[in-house]
Amino acid sequence: TSLSTSAASAADADELQSEQQARSLLREGFLRCLLSAANKKVQFHMYEKVKVEATFGACDIDVLNFQVSDLHTPIGVQKEALIRSQDVISFNFDI
């Protein structure tokens, strides 16, 4: 009946709205966290047991690349670098 259809679509709208709200809160928190990493010393744990330290710069919005400075690689310091997020398992910093 039309009654149950409209009840169902109201429930769908509610569900969509709470999903949008959750997504917004989560995304905003993540963006704030990345902003707070700027100019901090960050340790990256990467695949192949690679661990490197760098000064965090910025990240693109699709989270594909991290732009960093003073990257301490196993063979020396690279002044400016991009790190692929696909190569990274985790990274950490102190605030």
Binding site: E19, L26, F30, S36, A38, S90, N92, F93, I95
Partner: protein
């Protein structure tokens, strides 16, 4: 439990927020901390750990590397409040020395 962490979606990720979790990531990494947020774009997890000296350690585990998530503890009110104000205001240090 979680094979498909990146596929859970906002509502289910949200249930882990403010909980202390143990995350198993690729290549035998294990990370513990309070879950601050999950990026809905990359499924990456932001974990926060309060150090004894008052400092705060922030650990981000990339969504593609997450293998298993286990809830260890619920946050009490104070911890939850503290967590949610963690990165506010967003830009206190626009002017660097």
């Amino acid at each position: 439990m979680q094979r498909g962490w990146p596929l859970l979606g906002p509502l289910r990720w949200f249930r882990y927020v403010n909980k202390k979790v143990k995350v198993k990531a690729r290549k035998d990494e294990e990370v513990r901390g309070w879950l601050f947020t999950v990026d809905p774009v990359s499924a990456s997890m932001v974990l926060v750990d309060f150090r004894e000296n008052g400092g705060v350690l922030v650990q981000v585990v990339m969504g593609h590397a997450v293998e298993e998530v286990q809830v260890l503890q619920e946050a009490d009110r104070r911890t939850a409040d503290h967590l949610q104000t963690m990165f506010l205001p967003p830009r206190t240090c626009i002017l660097e020395p």
